[in-house]
Structure formats: C-alpha cells, structure tokens
C-alpha cells in the first residue's frame, strides 16, 4: 500500500487530528439542548393534529378538554385535515400531563375520506405530460440512436429523524425576549420570533448552543417557535413547545419520494447521446418541492426534461441534506449501470467515458483500487447463495462565498475567545472554529473558548447548502491572524525587536530565535481589558474557488435465497478543499454514507392506503440502519490540487451512496431493483423477473 501516494498525501494532510471539541459535554449530558431547559413557571403548548390523510372533524368535546385541571386554553382553528399530522388547533397548559390529557379529552371524531396516498396512481401518465421545448431534438436523438434504453425508477419518502425533536422555549418579558430553539439558523429563528411578537430584533436573545441534528428541516422558528412565542406573550410566562416522535415523523418535513422516467440513446462505443427524462415528485397536499436532480453530474447529451409534483395527502417535503440529489442520483446511477450492461461495458469504464469532471476521473481510479474493483464479476455472474456486488456513485457540490463575521477576543490571562452566532447542528462547527483559530495563532486548543449559537454573537449563516464552514472559516482564520499580529507586536515592543514579523508562535510559545515568551505572559502585555478583532471579509483565506467532488465505491452481499442485502464496505472519496479536523471531517463522510445506506435499504414512510395515516411514525417500525448494519466505511479525504479554502462537506457525501448500493445489488443478482428501499421482497421479485428488469 506504500505505493499509494493519496494515502500519505491526501488522507493525512490535515491541520488537526484532535477529538471533537464538545465530545465530553455531549457524551456526559452536560450539553444542554432546548428540551433540557425547564425555567420556573413554565407552561406547555402543543398542537392538536389530524391522525388521517384526509378527514373532517365530525365531533369534539371542547368543554371537556378545557375543563381539565391545569389547562389554560384549547383552540380548534380548522376542522379539515389534509395529512396525518396536520395542525388543527392547539392546547396550552400548566404541565405536559394536563396538555396531553386535554388532547385526549377533546375526543376528536373524524369523517375519514379517501386520501391520495399512491403517487404511482395519482401521477399524470407520461403520454399526457406536456412536452418540453426541446422535445423535438431529443426525439430525433432517440430516433437515430443505435442503442436505446428505457426505465422508470422509484424512490420513497425519507424523514429527517433528527434525534433532537423540533422545539422551542420562549420567555417573553416586558421589553426583552429570551428564547431557545432547536434550529439550523440562529438568526432566522430570532427574526421569526421578533416578527411574531412584534418586537425589535435586538430585543430577542436567542440561544441554540447545542442542536441535535436538522438535516434541512430546522430553518426558521417554524410552527413550534411560533406557538411558543404566542403563548408566552399571552400568558406572560415561559412557554415550551417540543414535538414528540410521532409529530416529528409526520409534520417536520421529509425528502420527497419520486418516480423518474428515463429513455436514453447511447452510442455503441459508450457515449450517452441524449433522450427524454421526466420526473414526478411525491409532495404534500399543496405546494411543490419534489424535484429530483436528474440528470446530473454526467454528460447526457440532448435531454428533454420535465417534472411534475404529485400531491398526496401526506406530510410536506422540506429541504433534506442535498435536496433532490440522492434520489436523482439513484436513478442516474442505475441507468448508467443498465446502459453499461446493454453495451457489455465495464460500468467503471462507462462512467469514466461520460463523466466530464477531471477530479472524479482520478477518484474513480483510486477508488477502484481501494475497493478491489478487479474482484467484480459481470452482472449476475456470481454463484452460490451469498453473492457479492460492486457499485459506483458520484457527487459534487459548489463552493460559493458568503457572509459571516467572527470575533476573536484575547484576554490578559491568555484566554482566546472565539465567537460566532452560527449554530453547530452536530457537524462540528465549534471544533472547526477552534482548530482554525488555534492553528493560525499557534496556541494550544486549551487556551481557546469557542462560543456559538447565540444571537448576540456575530452574525453567521444558517446551516443549509453546506455553507457553514465555508462561509465562516475564512473569517476565523483572518481574525486569528490579526490577533496573532497584535500580540507579536506587543512582544516585539517589549523585546525591542523592530520587525514583529521576525517573531513566531508555536505551541503557545513566542520566539524570535533567541528569547522566548509563553503566550500567557505575552497576553499580560495587553493594556486594555482585551484585544478585540472582528472580521467579516474572506481575504486570502477563501483560497482558490473549486468544487467538492466525490466518488464512492460500495460492496454489498446479497442473500439470493432471502433477498436480504448487507452493505459490507464503502470507500467514500471526498474533496472538501482544506480539511480542518480529521475526526469531524471523516465523521461527516461516514454519517452521510450511513444515512444514504439507510435510505437505500431500509427507511420508508408507510401510509395506510385506506386512511392515509402513517403507520410507522416512530423509530421502531420506521427502520433506520443500526450499528450492525453499518458497513466498513473508508473515508478518504481528497486533497484539492488547488490551494482551496475550507469547502463544502455536509451534503455531498450523501448524494452518492444510494445509487452506488443500487448498482451493487444489480451487480450481485444480475437484475435491477428499480425501487427503493431495496427490501428483501423486491430483491426476490427482481431475481424472479430476471435480467431484463421491468418497471417497478
């Protein structure tokens, strides 16, 4: 393995290998999340919800609900529910028990109507879809094409399953509001509260020091923050709204399901020439958001593309980690695999031929070696009951610049305080800030106090689009650089050295080559209370603009007698510009691979067809991969050739995994499973159907 330069050069070339900064707080329970705050005199509020897909309240017992001891108010604001989880009203009470009793006592009875739950039946048939403008060109490509392949792929709804539920605690006082919320956008939440309450932005002090995951579902104050604010204002007491797991599964958004029709022409030597692609997104009872990123990432030639959102009596889509991409790339990857099979080409070579990106071209070769691509047999050529399969997925993500401010304060006792109002939704934002500043300053981590997730701290982005590190890191590096120069100037003055640039700091010790001074001594030279730096510009720390490319290779094992798929190994190569902390960077990759694998094989929002109720609104029957399901994951941090800054990492790795797993299952059993999740029944069906496939 010593002949593999990427291992030495690309895997280990990191600034920092230290553990996650807040690991002790998180594993010991010291970290306080929104749900951990119980101020005195707190009241509870929650929503009254529709338990069916489409139902009208036929009777209710408001008097009984209002009569429960400790209940402050019960309001029904509408009577027609359009999805399981739809908010019909709310309850506010002195205690959780009283709130729940009131909801039970309300004894809502419903007239249940036929819901729309099956997107396959509800979608407009392809032949009735209005043709895109370039339909004629695409038709000609298909007409003249020598090899034509056509298939429809289907992906299911995936829910976010944040471990920390959505929730807020709002305390409205005379002229000041203090609030806590589980969010991926400190300032958006603050703004929503200010607007709801009719107060100025500066009157709201909003906290989200610790957040247990968002994945795209926690922008703004949401229904939870809004209700908490209104009730707190009304009753002049702190009010808490925290969802339970069933509410979390039905009404906090999801990755929408899809049907994806593809008909492509390909030349006999393996160039995709173009064709027709139409996608349907499975969305809520109104609105949209069901787009799938198909086509993407490969050269597809002339494509006539259209999309329709199909309305269901089911919860709404919400942004979810690379919205539209994992499902789009499932169809794209499977189609590439099927085309390669039609041409009798190695799917790796077929990808190399149709992938325009030069970085991924290199990654394919490296990944193939790491997974052992030469062990791959042609589709369906394996023997025995347990068959191995190999698959490939690709991803990329953009790295535009954006606004943020980072403050660094250097105190006379040597403490370095780093402040950003942006939130750490679990990706390691604190750690990233700490390691940026510590490495730039040349002082040990222990000197630093990193404080994030409070609206009175300097502004920063919401965590969406993988921007948090990329927007904030350049400012952190810039502020640290200014702090360093200022302290070196003080020491240079003290030593009578003319040029402070001749001084250096390493391991918390300042030196000019002859004499040394510890950081803590140097800071005593500060005459004011502290040195304060606030940086809002990227400067040179933004680096060369690049994109975060990635390629994944997976190995699965399929039990061909039972249809049970085990994901055995994943090589996940990911570019991220300048990696800051290996633990958190690898964690982002492995976490994304697990989430993508869980999506491909297990997770599924199941709606009861007659009533539209979600039958698995929990984390028992809504199946999420557990520890034993997790494959060996080999995260490969790919060092960019360009001198890039800190780039996107949160979303791109989740894009590639589901498609790669789909391809690997196809390779193992010699028949495509075109529907996710790839469950035993579907694998058995595909095996029975044989190599030709057939639509899901």
């Amino acid at each position: 393995m010593s002949e593999q330069p990427w291992r030495e050069d690309n895997r280990v070339a990191l600034e920092n290998d230290a553990p996650r900064l807040d690991v002790i707080e998180k594993v010991t329970g010291k970290a306080r999340y929104t749900t951990d705050y119980y101020p005195q005199n707190m009241i509870w509020a929650g929503y009254i919800r529709c338990p069916f897909g489409k139902a009208v309240v036929s009777s209710s017992n408001l008097d009984a609900a209002r009569g429960i001891s400790g209940v402050l108010e019960v309001e029904l604001t509408k009577t027609d529910g359009r999805y399981h989880g739809d908010r019909l009203g709310h309850v506010c009470a002195e205690s959780r028990a009283a709130m729940e009793q009131a909801i039970a006592a309300l004894d809502l009875q419903f007239d249940v109507q036929d819901p729309v739950t099956d997107a396959g039946r509800a979608k407009t048939p392809l032949d009735q879809i209005e043709s895109p403008d370039n339909h004629e060109q695409a038709r000609q490509v298909l007409e003249q094409g020598e090899v034509i392949h056509e298939a429809t792929y289907e992906t299911q709804v995936q829910t976010h399953c944040c471990l920390e539920p959505h929730g807020a605690l709002v305390d409205v006082r005379d002229d000041a509001v203090t609030a806590w919320g589980s969010t991926q956008g400190t300032f958006g939440f603050r703004d929503d509260l200010a607007q709801t309450l009719g107060v100025r932005q500066d009157q709201v002090e909003f906290h989200c020091e610790y957040v247990g995951g968002g994945f795209g579902s926690k922008f703004g104050a949401g229904a939870e923050g809004t209700l908490a604010a209104e009730m707190s204002q009304k009753y002049k007491r702190p009010c808490r709204v925290v969802l339970n797991r069933a509410e979390e599964q039905t009404d906090t958004g999801n990755r929408p399901g899809s049907h994806q029709y593809m008909k492509l022409a390909v030349s006999p030597d393996g160039k995709i020439q173009g064709g027709r692609i139409h996608t349907w997104g499975h969305v809520g009872p109104s609105g949209g958001g069901g787009g799938a990123a198909n086509p993407s990432r490969y050269n597809f030639g002339t494509i006539a593309r259209s999309h329709e959102d199909v309305h269901l009596n089911a919860g709404f889509p919400r942004a979810m980690r690379a919205p539209g991409h994992p499902q789009g790339m499932f169809a794209v990857s499977m189609m590439l695999e099927e085309l390669a099979e039609r041409l009798d080409m190695d799917p790796l070579q077929f990808r190399i031929k149709n992938d325009p990106d030069q970085v991924r071209q290199q990654m394919y070769r490296v990944g193939a070696e790491l997974i052992g691509w030469d062990r791959r047999q042609p589709n369906g050529a394996g023997t025995g009951v347990m068959r191995a399969g190999f698959g490939i997925g690709a991803t990329d993500w953009g790295n535009s610049a954006g606004r943020a401010t980072v403050d660094v304060n250097v105190f006379r006792d040597g403490t370095v305080e780093v402040l950003s109002g942006s939130q750490d939704i679990g990706m390691g934002f604190r750690t990233m800030l700490c390691d940026c500043v510590a490495s730039q300053l040349g002082v040990p981590r222990e000197q630093l106090r990193v404080k994030v997730g409070v609206s009175t701290y300097p502004p920063g982005p919401a965590s969406g689009g993988s921007v948090t590190s990329r927007f904030v890191a350049p400012k952190a590096l810039g502020a640290a650089e200014q702090a360093k120069q200022a302290v070196l100037q003080l020491v240079a003055d003290e030593w009578g050295v003319e040029n402070p640039a001749s001084l250096s700091i390493e391991g918390g010790v300042i030196s000019d080559g002859q004499q040394t001074m510890p950081w803590s001594e140097a800071c005593k030279l500060i005459s004011d209370d502290r040195l304060h730096f606030s940086v809002s510009r990227d400067g040179r720390h933004r680096g060369v603009t690049t994109s975060s490319q990635g390629v994944q290779f997976v190995e699965v094992q399929v039990d061909t007698e039972t249809g049970i798929v085990r994901c055995k190994r994943v090589v996940a190569i990911q570019e991220m510009g300048r990696p800051v902390n290996r633990n958190t960077a690898e964690n982002q990759i492995t976490g994304a691979v697990i989430q993508g694998m869980s999506f491909a094989l297990f997770e599924n929002r199941l709606l009861d067809r007659p009533t539209g109720a979600m039958v698995n609104p929990n984390m028992q029957m809504y199946k999420i991969a557990g520890p034993v399901d997790v494959p060996e994951i080999i995260p490969v941090i790919w060092k960019s050739e360009a001198e890039a800054g800190v780039n996107s990492l949160g979303e791109p790795p989740v894009v590639a995994t589901p498609g790669a797993i789909g391809c690997a299952v196809y390779n193992a059993i010699g028949a495509p499973v075109r529907r996710m999740p790839i469950t035993p029944d579907r694998v058995l069906e595909a095996i029975a159907r044989g190599p030709a496939g057939g639509d899901a």
């Binding site: 338990p51 069916f52 028990a97 729940e100 009793q101 039970a104 025995g384 009951v385 347990m386 039990d559 007698e561 039972t562 249809g563 049970i564 085990r566 094989l601 297990f602 199941l606 709606l607 009861d608 067809r609 007659p610 009533t611 109720a613 039958v615 698995n616 028992q620 029957m621 199946k623 991969a625 557990g626 520890p627 034993v628 399901d629 469950t679 035993p680 029944d681 058995l684 069906e685």
Partner: protein
C-alpha cells in the same frame, strides 16, 4: 402518558396478593413494552405493579429434571449464560440477538413472552381494531407486509416474542401462579389464537403471573434462524426454531402467525430422521403448507422455507450461508 400509581413489589408473594386484590392493576417487569404502550396511550392503567425488582424470580437453575428459568431473568443474563449457550443454542441465539444491548439488559424473559403485538394498527390509538375491542382488522385492507401468513385471522398479528419459538420447540412448560394456586402449562398451550381470544395473546387469568419457564430436557440438536431486514434492532420477518428431542424434530415458526406456529407438516416430513440438505429443504417446502399470505407479505413464504432449511442445517452442524 397518563398519571398512575406505582406499586413496587418486594417479593413474589406480596406481588401475587396485590395483583389478586385489584384486577385493574397493570403488571410490569422490565417495562420495555408497557412504557411504550403507555406512551402511545394504548395502555392507560391507573396503577402499575412492578415485579421488576423481585430478585427471587431472576435465576437460571440446572436441576435433576431440567432447567428452570425465573421470569425476571433478563435477556442479557440468558445471553451470558454458559448453560444456555451450550445446551440450548437455539434459545441462546434468539435472546442474544433480540432488540438492542440496552433493551436486553432491561427486558425480562417473562416480559418477552407476555409482550403485546407490534402490529402498527394495534399500536396506534386511531385504529380501534379487534384487539382493542373494535370490529375490524385494519391489516386486511391496509398495510400488511409484516403481518401473519398463517392462522386465518380474524386478527392478523404476528406474535412478537423472539424467545417463544425456541421455547415451544424445546417443549418448555410455563409455571403460572396466583395468590392461591400454581399451574404448569405447556408452552404450546400458553399462546392462544385470535379465534379463541382476541384481547389477549395467552391463557393468563386475572391475578395470574408467569413466574418460571421450565425446560425438561436438553435437545440433542437445536437452532434458531431469524431473518431480518435490519441486523440491529429489528423484528424478524421470519423465525424458525428447531429442536430434536428424543430423536424427533420439533419445528416452530415465528413472526408469521399470531402464536409461535408449530409446523406439523414440516415435522411430519422430518420425523426422527437425520438432517441432510435435501431433507432440510423438503421440510422447508412443507412448512408453508396451509399458508395464506395477504396482499403484501407473500415474500414470507420464501423466507419461511429458507429459515426452516437453515435452522435444520445449523442444528445438524452443516454449513449455511451467512
């Protein structure tokens, strides 16, 4: 969850007296299942009697006439027992792989055998199903991919216990006690089909507690195969437990019927013969005789065939795909 009185028993006799005195008392051992039911308001007892701390019910004893296991023995303790691992590998496999490590440390054998079904209609307050004194089984027209393929209803749950199939295969007996009486029932008679009793899954009477599991003899060969979608924290799609007692095979299926399903057709094929690959496969084919899959669970037929075949081959120390 509704507020409730919490009574803590400090011995089995006081527990039986308290349980006898108040028929509305809800019994709790590890609480794994009950807390879930209470959170979902499927159970809303005014008072809960816990026997979880009664140490005298936590034991695994090898005696002259067999092995006795107290109902408070946790699944984790069973999994750690050399006796269970060496003499009852089928039972050991089932308890060691149930749920999660945390759950196994709390879940008791008695609780595992007496837990309520996982059917999502039963577990949802919105569905007033047969099991909850309603008038229909919603799985018939609804989502039934995990439901029963045997039994003809009228309720189509599958029995949720992992430990039950191997215990029935071992022809274990359950000791049931009331304040004044004690009776022993065959494990195969403990569980009842929905056409006999809809609102319960076993023969326990009011005031009666399952206190002990008795396994009269060690099998010469035994094994359990559980086929799961997920390998962590998932209820199997199909289970087959086999045991050879006095030369004859017993074959019991799980996750496919409202009770641990003793497969007479498979046992008829096997008789007292030694296992070959062909015989094991033949028994698997026989095991699905009489099955009536619902709309979405016909795949379980294939899983049953494979589970039976692999369980027999495992018991016979033959290699099976893993």
């Amino acid at each position: 969850m509704k507020s409730f009185d919490y009574l803590v028993a400090d011995g089995i006799d006081p527990a039986l007296r308290a349980y006898d005195a108040d028929e509305n008392l809800q019994l709790k051992a590890g609480g794994i299942d009950l807390i879930d039911l209470m959170n979902n308001r499927i159970a809303a007892p005014d008072a809960v009697l816990t026997i979880g701390g009664v140490d005298e019910l936590a034991y695994i004893r090898e005696e002259d006439d067999g092995v006795r296991i107290g109902c408070n023995t946790t699944l984790a303790d069973l999994a750690r027992s050399d006796l269970i691992a060496s003499q009852f590998p089928g039972l050991h496999h089932a308890v060691a792989g149930a749920a999660t490590p945390q759950v196994r440390e709390r879940a008791t054998l008695g609780g595992n055998l007496c837990q309520r079904p996982r059917c999502w209609y039963f577990r949802s307050r919105q569905f007033h199903c047969l099991k909850k004194h309603g008038h229909m089984c919603y799985a018939v027209e609804g989502e039934n991919r995990y439901h029963a393929i045997f039994g003809d209803g009228p309720c189509h749950i599958v029995h949720p216990s992992n430990a039950a199939p191997p215990l029935v295969a071992l022809d274990a007996a359950f000791v049931l006690r009331t304040r004044d009486n004690e009776r022993t029932v065959a494990s195969s008679d403990f569980f009842v089909m929905p056409d006999r009793a809809l609102w319960t899954e076993n023969v326990l009477e009011p005031g009666e507690i399952l206190t002990e599991v008795y396994i009269p003899k060690a099998p010469s060969q035994s094994a359990t195969i559980e086929l799961r979608e997920k390998q962590s924290y998932d209820w199997p799609l199909a289970i087959c437990a086999v045991a050879r007692l006095d030369g004859r095979w017993r074959v019991v299926l799980g996750a496919v019927a409202p009770v641990p399903w003793v497969s007479e057709p498979a046992m008829a094929v096997l008789g007292d013969r030694d296992i070959t690959g062909a015989l094991a496969a033949q028994a698997g084919e026989a095991a699905v005789e009489g099955a009536k899959p619902m709309r979405d669970n016909a795949y379980k037929l294939q899983l049953v065939k494979v589970a039976v075949k692999r369980a027999l081959m495992t018991a016979a120390a033959m290699e099976v795909p893993q």
